[in-house]
Amino acid sequence: MSGAAPARALPGSGDARRHLIVAIVNNRPGVLNRVASLMRARNFNIESLAVSVTERSDTSRMTLTILGDEVHVEQATKQLYKLIDVLKVEDVTDSAIVEHELALIKVRVTSKSRPELVSLAEMHHGRVVDLGDDAAIVEIVGEPGDVDRVVELLREFGIKELVRTGSVVMARGSGSIEEQVKR
């Protein structure tokens, strides 16, 4: 046997990028812990995670964003599938989707800057949901990139507090991941 054979490729040597994973899971105590524990134990890094009940009260929907190459993320979805409480997993990164998140940003205001803040929020489809003497809360809903831009613009006011929900996504068109769940 010659030593000239090329080295065997290792699994997952592609470029890392952000992936969006949707999982439909049983709505039971401890399921979030199972998912989080699995991701930690298998060395997958969750960038954001949003969880809520679905149209059916016995299932929940999780939206995870993970950074990794194709093979790495495929391994994550396969491992998720092995959890008994996980009913359906889909990597929707390359699908036609609506992806939104909500952010609340508390900024400093003065009587002088207040009108400027209100118009800036409106211009970016946000709104001011709380307005006090020296602080205001701006709510913005949109794609993560849009939220990033508004946050940048608000920095000049001085951000006191910032919270983001993480992305939630839904496929465009008539398809439904919930209807695909076998029961």
């Binding site: 065997r8 699994p11 812990n33 391994q75 396969k78 008994i84 009913l87």
Partner: protein
């Protein structure tokens, strides 16, 4: 001062419930037996559920919160509870029971330390896909999270190392949870399932019925193991076999689990493919079969690894291409198309890139593959098999096939293993511990029968041999069960000598005593440049120890004494031990140093014979020499 004293949140319903539960913990909880039928409680439902699953052996150890179960065991005479001396042994015994019989093993412990002691055994079963149901008690439900006596978040601990786990807080949930636990443990890729049951759930009255298998499966929409491989992929594999000149089958544990040994042999014969096996795949084929080529991997046979490195088609079935099998993946089987058949989709593409991936049960996939596979006349592969035979002869006749030590009057471990296997007509269950002894058993055990080799492969748990052999002996009483352990692993769980004597479990123990942690010494010699530390291991006088336990025992120091001792131990109606004083410095060869490839096997180190020559103490590599090799290959 009110009457509620120091109770936090006094007066609230939560505080009252907590108080009641605390009293309950200490109350005399005996079931009233006088006159008439007594109510059915959660503990009864648990016993019924175990019996319904065909499980009549429980390996366990009692404790505070699990006592309600022990209180009703007398009413379920079909269940045999075997009292171990440490919960870790209960978990290993359940594991050994499952490996030897193919049935689900059951172990039991109380809350807190009882539960944490089970953890090593549960992890062992997880890494090796062994079906075990581990049951623990826990404090009453309202006390959960309050750090009550012997309370620990055990479901939080077992979560990442079980296939699934449950925290049961009501008696009504018990029948369904146990049925589901058994189904999950034994189906698909098997594994351990842990069921934690609160004391009030064990004691609560219940009329909950036991579910049917159909009800259990219907209740698990997120769990549908895929058994049949993709038809088109199977055809692709059949075509690849037809085109292959140098195919090798890599047979793993999955073949034993799905009982596909017959199909494996049929495929191998029909297409004339040599079969190599992983550590847990030992027993997939009779090792004396002409198509049985050998044990692969880090301490596998040189000829087998050579065949893998020169193969054009590797057909991995029910194995996971782990690091002990492949070595460096970059240089693994450079010319081969890699086929990976496994029931667990997550295994495929995890460690190596599979060119032909097939998700499915080994038996189903093989059954579908065989009719599509062309018959190959032995003559068509004559050159290939002739080359394989040459390699085999070379590696088996090497002085490093074992050590040759018995010729010099020194007791060599491989010789001992060979004689034990021979003396037991190659029909016994051989349970290995972990370390050098494990590799000697794997290499020299001469296995002919499925499920006759038990070894902690994935987790590599020292102390496994004796308790797991106990499980095997109870599971398959018609076969002899040997525990082959080094003096390191044996001293980790030797408290179970009391169990085998008390319960008359006829385990035959081969203690391979080199007064060392042999594999540690071997690594320190070869990989750490002779910088020895903590490898010397003092032990007791094992004859006196066995005498103290009333266990028949023999001491063997010379090759010519081996056969007689084996025969004597086998003649004992019950457990027995042979203390083999083996060569102190024998290495397991060949060896693939970690990070190296299958072509980088070391097959000796230092001068010939030095490994087994007593008195050649001192490092072979001068530790003060700055040029001393570390991890060097020959």
């Amino acid at each position: 001062m009110t009457q509620t004293g120091h109770v936090p949140g006094a007066g609230t319903s939560a505080a009252l419930a907590t108080e009641r539960a605390r009293k309950e913990m200490l109350r005399d909880a005996r079931i009233e037996r006088r006159g008439g039928p007594r109510p059915r409680i959660g503990a009864d439902a648990l016993c019924e559920a175990l019996l319904l699953q065909g499980s009549n052996i429980i390996w366990g150890y009692p404790g505070g919160v699990i006592l309600p179960l022990y209180d009703v065991l007398v009413d379920h005479p079909g269940l045999r509870h075997i009292l171990v001396r440490h919960e870790q042994a209960a978990a290993h015994a359940a594991d050994g029971f499952a490996r030897a019989s193919g049935k689900v093993g059951v172990c039991l412990g109380t809350s807190g330390p009882g539960a944490t002691n089970l953890v090593t055994g549960i992890g062992t079963s997880m890494l090796d896909s062994v079906p075990v149901v581990a049951i623990t008690g826990n404090v009453p439900g309202v006390l959960l999270g309050k750090d009550a006596f012997q309370e620990i978040d055990i479901t939080g601990i077992t979560l990442p190392m079980t296939k699934h786990n449950y925290l049961i807080r009501s008696a009504d949930e018990i029948p369904h949870a146990i049925a589901e636990a058994f189904h999950i443990a034994r189906s698909g890729r098997p594994g351990p399932v842990h069921v934690d049951i609160t004391k009030d759930a064990l004691m609560g009255e219940t009329t909950a019925p036991h579910p049917t298998q159909a009800e259990v499966e219907a209740g698990l929409p997120g769990y549908r193991p895929k058994l049949d491989g993709h038809a088109r992929q199977i055809k692709v594999l059949a075509d690849a076999i037809a085109a292959s000149k140098r195919p090798v089958i890599l047979a793993g544990h999955g073949i034993l689990i799905s009982q596909a040994e017959r199909e494996l042999l049929e495929l191998a014969r029909k297409a004339q493919i040599p079969v190599a096996w992983t550590l847990l795949g030992i027993g997939v084929i009779d090792e004396s079969d002409p198509l049985a080529y050998g044990y692969m991997g880090m301490h596998g046979w040189k000829h087998v690894n050579r065949a893998i490195q020169s193969a054009d088609l590797l057909i991995g079935i029910g194995m996971r291409y782990d690091d002990r099998v492949t070595g460096n993946v970059r240089t693994f089987a450079p010319s081969a198309t890699i086929v990976h058949v496994d029931i667990d989709p997550a295994e495929i593409g995890k460690n190596v890139v599979a060119d032909i991936p097939i998700v499915g049960d080994a038996k189903h996939v093989l059954a579908a593959l065989i009719p599509l596979t062309p018959s190959v006349a032995p003559a068509a592969r004559a050159d290939y098999f002739a080359e394989l035979a040459t390699w085999r002869t070379a590696s088996e006749s090497s002085a490093w096939h074992g050590s040759g030590g018995w010729r010099d009057g020194v007791l060599s471990a491989d010789f001992v293993v060979e004689r034990i296997a021979e003396g037991s007509q190659h029909d016994a269950n051989l349970t290995a511990d972990v370390g050098q002894n494990q590799m000697w058993v794997a290499r020299y055990g001469g296995f002919k029968r499925a499920n006759s080799h038990l070894s902690s492969g994935g987790l590599g748990t020292m102390g496994f041999a004796l308790p797991a052999a106990m499980g095997a002996a109870v599971a398959v009483p018609e076969k002899t069960s040997w525990a082959i352990a080094g003096d390191g692993g044996f001293q980790m769980t030797l408290q179970e000598l009391a169990t085998i004597v008390q319960e008359r479990i006829p385990v035959k123990i081969a203690l391979m005593d080199n007064k060392k942690l042999g594999m540690i010494r071997q690594w320190q010699e070869i990989v750490y440049g002779g910088n020895y530390h903590s490898e010397q291991l003092a032990g007791p006088d094992y004859l006196k120890l066995c005498d103290a336990y009333s266990l028949p025992a023999w001491k063997v120091s010379k090759p010519e004494e081996v056969d007689a001792a084996v025969a004597a131990a086998l003649a004992v109606d019950g457990p027995a031990l042979i203390w083999f004083e083996i060569a102190e410095r024998q290495n397991v060869y060949p060896m693939m140093p970690a990070g190296k490839g299958l072509s980088d096997l070391i097959d000796k180190w230092g001068d010939d014979g030095e490994d087994v020559t007593e008195g050649s103490s001192g490092p072979r590599v001068d530790p003060t020499d700055p040029n001393a090799p570390s991890g060097a290959t020959k």
